[in-house]
Structures are given as C-alpha cells and as structure tokens.
Symmetry: C2
Subunit: 219 residues, 2 copies
C-alpha cells in the first residue's frame, strides 16, 4: 500500500481550498478514501469521544436515490435563490456549479456521508456547538486532505434535507445523525486562491465591535 504523502504545505492547501462541483467520472481508489477518513478522524472531538461514523457510497442505486432527493430540494431553492442573488457574478458562477452537481449527482464517483453517533436529549445552543464542533473539524480535515491530493470536493447538506428519505436510502438508524455529505472526484477544472473579507472587518479586539485592526489595514 503506497499511501499518498499529503505533503502539500498547510498554508497552500488552506489558501487554495474551494468547493469543486464539476467532477470527472474517473475512479477514486478505496485506499485514497481510507486515507482521507483516517486524516478526518485526527480532528478534535469533545472529550475525545470520536462520536462519528462515515458512509462511503459508490453503489449506483443508493447514489440515484440521494440524487433524486438532492434534485427535489434543489428545485425548491434554485429559482428564488438565483433571483435574490442575480446581481452577484460570483454567486451566479457558484449557482451554476451547484446546478451542474444536482444534474449529475449520480455520476459522482464517491459520496462520503458524515454522521454523528452521540444523541443528546436536550439540545441548547452550547450543547449543539459541542456536538457539531465534534464533526465539522473532521469534515474540514477531509476537505483539506482532498484538496492536498488534488481531489475535487465540497460540503453539502442538501441531499439530507428530506431527512427521513435520506436515512432510509442509507439505512441509518435513529441513534445516528447524518450531518453532511462530501462528494468526491477528480476535478474537471482547477484549484486556485480564494478571496475573503479582510480580517480587520470581522475581528474585534477585547470586546465586540472594537475594530482596532481595521485602521491597521488602511481601511
């Protein structure tokens, strides 16, 4: 077994990570998927509970079911969301890629369904933060590791919106909560640096609203 080295500098991986929704149908090996999940599980969890499970979906039948659910939700949100953001060219590009993914969902080589296994009875915002804070760091590791080996990936919750049907398609028992899906495949396009709001705009010093770093940026 020759595992990939995952030797891309971490700064480069983070700075060039982006959602890739146009994928080829070239196969993605089990070995690689395994390595990605192994790195995902290196992420922290509350009290190191590691209360997660992953479902690796390649079966055309299961993928077709999730593709149908995904399209049902997409049809509901597609038009209104497109209209609301019609003047944002960046959004329009993303929207087109999301439409492409919806149209071709069954052709995605691998879907990784990320689940939480700890059920909490009294959800409060702090408990929710602790639960979701014990799965999304792992998902981010998965996405970064995928980027580091040049795989296309993105994070979507859309196919899980019709939750009961999605659970049935995947045979997920009630004690397990599917949280999101990471579609994986080799990209047709390229990765490249992303842009974000300046740090000074979204950072306060000591107390909320003290934008001391905004001036330092000449803002």
């Amino acid at each position: 077994m020759t595992a990939p080295a995952f030797d891309m500098p971490i700064g480069e991986a983070m700075r060039t990570q982006r959602a890739i929704r146009r994928l080829t149908t070239d196969p993605v090996s089990d070995e690689l998927v395994r390595e990605l999940i192994a790195l995902a599980t290196k992420a922290p969890t509350a009290q190191n509970h590691q209360a997660w499970e992953f479902i690796v979906v390649r079966d055309p039948e299961v993928k077709a079911k999730l593709a149908r659910l995904n399209r049902r939700v997409w049809r509901l949100v597609d038009k209104p969301v497109a209209w609301l953001n019609r003047k944002d060219p960046k959004f329009v590009r993303t929207h087109r890629a999301t439409a492409h993914q919806a149209d071709n969902f069954e052709d995605i080589p691998v879907l990784i369904v990320c689940c939480m296994t700890a059920t909490r009875r009294a959800p409060s915002p702090v408990v929710a933060a602790s639960s979701y804070g014990s799965i999304f760091p792992a998902v981010q590791n998965l996405l970064l590791a995928a980027r580091a080996v040049g795989l296309g990936a993105n994070l979507t919750t859309m196919p899980l919106t019709i939750n009961f049907a999605a659970r049935r398609a995947l045979g997920i028992p009630w004690k397990v909560t599917p949280v999101c899906i990471v579609p994986l495949g080799w990209p047709t396009g390229k990765y490249g640096p992303t842009t974000r709001r300046p740090v000074g705009e979204i950072t306060s010093i000591d107390r909320y609203g003290n934008r001391a770093w905004l001036d330092a940026e000449g803002g």
Copy 2:
C-alpha cells in the same frame, strides 16, 4: 511584515494536532493571530456567506471574567466526569490538563472567540448543520494553523455555557452567537502523533452497518 510560512506538510499537521492546555505566558504577536484568522476564513461557508466574526481577547479584565465563568462550569462537571472516567488513564491526563487550564485561564496569552453572525429563526437539524458547518471548518483551520507554527491551542465551549454572562463580558449583541473559544499560547509540552479508532470500525460501505473495510484491517 514577515508572515510565517505555514509550510508544514498538511498530513503532519493533522496527524500531530492535539489539544494543548498547558501554556507559557510568553506573548503571541498580533501579526501571528491575524494570520491565523486569515487562514481560518479560508474555510468554506454555506453559500460563501462568511457569516462569522472573531474576538481577540487580551484584556486582563475580560479574561478574568471568562476565567470565572469557566471555573463555575468546571466546578459543576469536574468531579462527576472524573468519577465516570476514573479507569481511563488517557482521560485522566486530559482531565488534569483541563483542570490546569481552568486554574490558569486568566494567564492564557490570547483567547479567540469564534462567533456566527447569521441568525436563523427556525432551527432544524439540517439548518443547524448548515450554520455550524459554516463556523467549525474555520475553527479547525485556526487550530491546524496554530499547530503548524507550534502554538498551543484547543477548542472549548465551557466558558460560554453561562451564555448571558459570557455575552455581557464580551459585549456581544443578540444577533451574534458566540460558538466556541480557542485559547492560544506557546506550549510548555510537545506536540506528537495521536491515536484514533481504526477507520474500518467507523466506516460503512454504501449502507450503514456494512463494515466491509473491517476485514481488510484484519479486525
């Protein structure tokens, strides 16, 4: 400005990331904190909303207030949690480190409070996943970037448990939701590889419960 390179191989950063709760009082520069937040914001968000804010806390008065809140919660959970896990030596080590952090919370050089700015009115599990899935990938980038430059860090929600008081200490308005805190400083100890449950045990193939990969591990 000579920014750190963040050139640690991504696999190494992930494999050696761990919660570091014993910190020196040596200063952590604004420049470095800024870089960490810049990398945090490279993480994905739902529809690229970037609905986050960060509060960088160094003010001894604000830190002291959060330290008191943290200890109030710690005193409630300390004994019962320790008793429940008394036979797990790994847990005992973590527990001691958490106690150390609680005792010395005001001496942590920098606290980064990570917040969501999008308020959603009707929280369902899928909406919650989309909200928390738009902040915790950023938090994980922050933790990995800290690890890559040798800073000690961990993810904690404990000081935010008494939510109203924590909000008041930080001056956070109701439209903003503090999600977690990342304490940052130079470690007194060392980073090293972590261990996790084998991938085959937590991975299903195509449908939940099909442990086809378990055999491949000779399990």
